[in-house]
Symmetry: C3
């Protein structure tokens, strides 16, 4: 479907320079663009490339556009990436699974499905589970009993939710992810020398607008709850242990692991393969570099400060240590 660029400009709150009648039907990068594509370019160099591309129109910034000479329509936005993301949702909305329950899905008679819910082939929905309006559950998902899923969620293929998991509104979960599994809590019996499982019967509570990647594992609480705050984004293959408390708008990159009972405050950013031991506290706005590690019970403070290494220290100090060591080794 084609959209006049003037209409897109209006929807995304951008200032249009050029011919508003030009039509766009897709989004692309400059190098991949066809004559019907909308592209974006944040700085003058990228804008020059976009101008030379086949693209129909360009989303850009005020600064980049100042000296630009082109007949292509420019959509000048305060936040070009945000504007481009919004344009993309208008121009190429994702192909939707049709609403309704697939004939092969197995939905317990006591489950409550909202309006326009979609349940894919071979999905299994347990006893007393509640699913909100317009939520989509993909093929092969297995959703346990007494689960509550909010509205407009998009649960992809083969996602597992254990019983009593609670998920907010507009949550996205990618394939293979397991939510609400038992925490890794064992007690060594000093008489037998064998490990026995400590009860893992708490909840997993996931807020609104949370997005979770593929093959992630998030354990339920032992007695209380594991909590993921609103707006937090979690990449592939991340592990979150039992009783962990994660705040709002936290970013967790791939393969990071957070051990039991740790607290990650709002707006923390965790790079990839970070390891957070148990009972750690990361205060608001801390940034952990990739592969860094925080030992048990440590508290890490400093909004906007980057930490690196294991045990994690401020980036500046860590880089100095690396430099000193390299110098010594060269003698």
């Amino acid at each position: 479907m084609l959209h006049p660029i003037a209409e897109i400009a209006k929807e995304i709150d951008a200032r249009l320079v050029g011919d508003g009648a030009v039509q766009v039907g897709g989004i692309a990068s400059p190098q991949g663009a066809t004559e019907q594509d909308l592209v974006f370019a944040e700085d003058p160099a990228l804008l020059a490339a976009a101008v030379k591309s086949k693209a129909a129109a360009i989303i850009t910034s005020e600064a980049a556009a100042t000296d630009a000479k082109t007949k292509k329509p420019l959509l000048i936005a305060k936040q070009p990436r945000i504007a481009f993301a919004r344009a993309a949702r208008i121009i190429s909305p994702p192909r939707r699974q049709a609403a309704g329950v697939h004939s092969t899905a197995i939905v317990h008679h006591s489950a409550k499905l909202g309006q326009h819910v979609s349940i894919g082939p071979n999905a299994v929905i347990g006893e007393d589970t509640v699913i909100g309006d317009r939520t989509r559950i993909g093929p092969g998902c297995t959703i346990g009993s007494e689960v509550v899923i909010g509205r407009e969620c998009y649960i992809r293929n083969t996602v597992t939710m254990y019983s009593r998991t609670r998920v907010g509104d507009r949550v996205s979960v990618h394939s293979g992810t397991v939510l609400g599994s038992d925490g890794f809590g064992y007690v060594r019996n000093v008489t037998t020398g064998r490990y026995e499982q400590f009860p893992q019967v708490g909840l997993l509570i996931i807020g609104d607008d949370v997005e979770i990647g593929a093959n992630v594992t998030i354990d339920r609480g032992a007695l209380d709850a594991t909590v993921i705050g609103n707006g937090t984004k979690i990449d592939n293959l991340v592990h979150i242990g039992h009783n962990v408390q994660i705040g709002e708008n936290v970013i967790i990159a791939a393969q990071t692991g957070i051990s039991g009972s740790s607290v990650i405050a709002n707006n923390v950013i965790l790079g990839g393969q970070v390891g957070i031991a148990d009972h750690v506290r990361l205060e608001e706005g801390v940034i952990m570099g990739a592969q860094s590690g925080v030992p048990t019970k440590k508290v890490v403070r400093g909004k906007g400060i980057v930490f690196w290494g294991t045990p994690a220290r401020p980036l500046r100090a860590y880089l100095k240590e690396l430099a000193v060591l390299a110098k010594l080794a060269k003698k």
Copy 2:
């Protein structure tokens, strides 16, 4: 269901102080407890909090109970956590999938199912596979041919077992876990410069009382077997390569990886994100700190000794190195 606390005390071999007629119907933490919950408190501070909570009764230790003043019944146990875990199994047993084969499960006619076996929706059970009494197989599991699973196992959702995998009794496997996949064994053909797969046709043998987390991968042996010993506990997203031999009562925390042909002796503890290269030997009782790494063919010895860093060295030595380096960098 409610249980008189005197009955629980008897079952878990605890000494009761207080009114044995008090009834409990659930377990909880002190902060989450209702008037019908049983809680536990190992030390005087936790006991003080438990006494102030709404809880009906408290499992505690002799030492903590000495000076306690409370009307709540106390159950005094030698190992309060073990006692609490046992009480939990009596008070809130997990909701059981009903025995029987779900109408949508696909069980090969040659498969042999024991007494009271439960096979969930859409599970697939292969040719000549044998499943022991009271074992539960969750929805969406795909169990290959000639697999042998013991008694009272609890295999959650969407678990894959490749053909000829052997699993002992009372084994728990969480969702998304893959058992018996091909090892990562390739040979570079010097003529073509391309990699060819070395045969990966051995077995995977898992002992009794093993517990395996979610989205774990354990490869089968190449020609011989990968072996996981009795009582070993494996957390989420762990990788175990081909021909690895793991002993009894080994603890492996999340996201740890063990490469091909390594040997992990009894009672070893591996923290999270530990990396063990191939052909390594960890002797009995070694403790590897989180994110530590052991290079190829190394032998690590020392019962109860903690190792840290990559390459892993005794914790004491490693901490001294860190201190020396930090001091140099401050000059």
Copy 3:
């Protein structure tokens, strides 16, 4: 089925010394061999063990065979491991899922299946998807719309492919792997302080002869494509981010992660748990030791050179640093 060893020798292009009428029916290691098994032994010590074993015949090298005294037939090959792998494919071919679409599979009427394709129980195949001749799709797989899979692929159980994923010929994918999920691309909206998803609508293109382990995640490109070159082998629990370009014959060991837009040239070898940040470039033939890390935008060069540590440096330099530090700490 039994095969005369003379026939095997001919098929694998090995020189036969001894009785060609001896029959073999399986492959094994020397310690596990029965009287009908073929084993391999690359060096004199292994050959001595193989000679003492019960094995029927031995694949070995010219050098190892020179002084060997045995009545067992020897198959002398230039590349004994390659020869053994080929013999294995003749002697014990994997048990094949029968061709045809299982009655419980859900194949969209617009999907195009080649000759002798096998679709397992409960597999779901989407709209306009194309599957090449002799490709096998295992039970529980969910293959999206407009996916293209080549010929002779072996897709195991519960594999997810998102829409428009493209897979070459002779590709092997193990269970639980997710191909084509959304990349981890978010933009912070400076007005609201919240993260919004950047479009993740590109492709995932996988070449020929690629082998992918279990529970791997490979994201699609944001606007362009994520690309995996021919002959590349990927171990379990690996993460590959959006827009990553991986060359040919690359080896990626378990739990390694590669962030968005990085380029891994041909013949690179990545050990286990390696972390590659975004926009990194690893040039041809670089070898990254296990757990090493490369920070954002770095270029690493050096065919056959091993790098270790985080940030990764040449192995020689890194080992010297470790030695210097250990020495200082001992003072």
